[in-house]
Amino acid sequence: MASLRCFLRSGKKAVTAVLRREFHGTPPAAVQVTVRDALNQAMDEELERDERVFLLGEEVAQYDGAYKVSRGLWKKYGDKRIIDTPITEMGFAGIAVGAAMAGLRPICEFMTFNFSMQAIDQVINSAAKTYYMSAGLQSVPIVFRGPNGASAGVAAQHSQCFAAWYGHCPGLKVVSPWSAEDARGLLKSAIRDDNPVVFLENELMYGVPFEMSEEVQSKDFLIPIGKAKIERQGTHITLVSHSRMVSLCLDAAAVLAKEGIECEVINMRTIRPLDAEAIETSIMKTNHLVTVEGGWPQFGIGAEILARIMEGPAFNYLDSPAVRVTGVDIPMPYAKILEDNSVPQIKDIIFSIKKTLNV
């Protein structure tokens, strides 16, 4: 009210004074941001920050992105920096890698990572290995991003999780965000990283809102690649997970808390390099481990974590064998009841926790 009276009395000069005063007076505000918007904003800010950054992929420009992750970017940055490609993954992934070799910083979007299989030679042999083969002469600052893993009703060819495939390869960094904060901070770090980064998003998480603090909203908010985050402190058991499964772990933890079981939930954030230390430290406290992933069990993320724990200092702290909760070892079926039973559910996590704790 006071500001309104001020404005009416002394016109323009007063308005600017009022605006300035209003700025000083505003307290920091957290906002609700969906994972999709977080990705969008991260890309927008990085495109603005560095002229060498550009985005290419199918439907990323004029369609605003198949999943609307790149909405508004083409309108803002134009054809030069937001490029629609034909449906030729091997070709455009190779083009993106070549552009990175020659000094640009491309973001190469795969509509889903299932299609990255067409281009996987470019990701591994042209991008990941080149810095090593050239003994440091040729770096490849590229980000490959897109949705990974199971979606809803898209059946076998569109539901595979590639975390283990890419996580296998030296020369790549592989990142798997869960929350909006993860998406924002990790994508910015990935774009600023001078190495090839595979950025595994999740379609089912795109629309999920998370609270984002003022600090996280700042333009230089980065999450370091290679560091896990403890989303929930606990004492009885360590749950290690990535991407959407973190939500299920937290839900399971909430249910079990009512029974007096306190789960420590670790959000991996990065698949490669794997933050084994964070997991070990947690196990030394809780003495029990369950890993949870959406992908297939054989040679998967959980398999690697368990092997590392066996080989490391935390093994002696385990009071029972570590266990993996994974997707069912089958191609993803279509019918809803079948699909629902092909991926871990909260009850599966709770069941495994109780078995591990012998309760």
Binding site: T88, G91, A93, G94, I95, A100, S134, A135, N195
Partner: protein, 370 residues
């Protein structure tokens, strides 16, 4: 007197049908005449001879088991590498497949560091970590082992050239075997759509490993395979033909017209690699015929001698110098120590803090620095 002599050299020679230029969706091919100065002639001669001798030395060292693994030799095709480089600038970019030693040289590598890379020593151009197929220099992106993969990469480099607006272009090479790869057609499409300054060059040496072009390609007119991309086909054994064609192609790209495709008809004396004797799918007679009638170095030599641009002694002297350079390089390549084991895990990531790499067992933690 001779130093000031400039000769007009007739690029199109008499009756030999291979010495014409075929065009596809192009108004006209390169000029029928080209100027070759004495300096240029001597330089091309020296470089081609260097490549030739270097490759023959590599053959020797391979048979002595000092070079191991894959070794794809370029002797016979020298005019391509030298002619192309003569048609572009060092500030332009180039990428090729695995038959790359010649290009590593023309793009600025030294014989020493190339040979030391073949022998896997620390003085190698990639510190011994890349080997024959993975050599890099400034604006030269290898050396690529996966057939055809280099073509999209090259178009990507061209995209960067266009994006950064420095009037540079990318020469993107592949062989007759690779020419059937799907990703190449994907690349033609995008390069054309986006008018990328990319010269696609097919080095047609008639054989994809052991398979002749007739057995591999439904259409062996590789210069036409770009369909909507203009193309030209020239004699890849004549360094001047290659140079003039490259100049035309470069002009095309730099004027913003988009990509262009060149087919160079050439020949390799060696088999596909050192594991291939190269005579099960072609006759010794054929190889001998090319050597006697179309050898790129002999052709240039004859041209220079018959036009009084150089004397026999002069060229012999260059031969001697080249031989010495190769001997010195081979000496270095065989005596330089192997890379230190400390280097094993380095160069995984660029610009990263040092990290640990798991060794062959859980207790072995190796160090990796950028």
């Amino acid at each position: 007197m001779r130093k000031m002599l400039t000769i007009i050299s007739n690029v199109l020679r008499g009756s030999a049908s291979r010495n014409k230029c075929d065009v596809h969706k192009l108004e006209e091919g390169p000029p029928l005449q080209a100027v070759l100065t004495r300096e240029e002639g001597l330089q091309y001669y020296r470089t081609m001879q260097t490549i030739r001798r270097m490759e023959l030395k590599a053959d020797q060292l391979y048979k002595q088991k000092i070079i191991r693994g894959f070794c794809h030799l370029y002797d016979g095709q020298e005019a391509c590498a030298v002619g192309i480089e003569a048609g572009i600038n060092l500030s332009d970019h180039l990428i090729t497949a695995y038959r790359a030693h010649g290009y590593t040289l023309t793009r600025g590598g030294t014989v020493r560091e190339i040979m030391a890379e073949l022998t896997g020593r620390r003085g190698g151009i990639a510190k011994g970590k890349g080997g024959s197929m993975h050599m890099y220099t400034k604006h030269f992106y290898g050396g690529n082992g996966i057939v055809g993969a280099q073509v999209p990469l090259g178009a990507g480099v061209a995209l960067a050239c266009k994006y950064l607006g420095k009037n540079e272009l990318c020469v993107c090479l592949y062989g007759d075997g690779a020419a059937n790869q799907g990703q190449i057609f994907e690349t033609y499409n995008m390069a054309s759509l986006w008018k990328l300054p990319c010269i696609f060059i097919c080095e047609n040496n008639k054989y994809g490993m052991g398979t002749s072009v007739e057995r591999a390609a439904a259409s062996t007119d590789y210069y036409k395979r770009g369909d909507f991309i203009p193309g030209l086909r020239v004699d890849g054994m004549d360094v001047l033909c290659v140079r003039e064609a490259t100049k035309l192609a470069a002009e095309h790209c730099r004027s913003g017209k988009g990509p262009i495709l060149m087919e160079l008809q050439t020949y390799r004396y060696h088999g596909h690699s050192m594991s291939d004797p190269g005579i099960s799918y072609r006759t010794r007679d054929e190889i001998q015929e090319v050597r006697s009638k179309s050898d790129p170095i002999s052709m240039l030599k004859d041209r220079m001698l018959s036009n009084n641009m150089a004397s026999v002694e002069e060229l012999k002297e260059i031969d001697v110098e080249v031989r010495k350079e190769i001997e010195d390089a081979a000496q270095f390549a065989t005596t330089d120590p192997e890379p230190p084991l400390d280097d094993l895990c380095n160069h995984i990531f660029y610009n990263d803090p040092p990290m640990e790499v798991r060794g062959t067992n859980p207790w072995t933690k190796l160090k990796s620095i950028s």
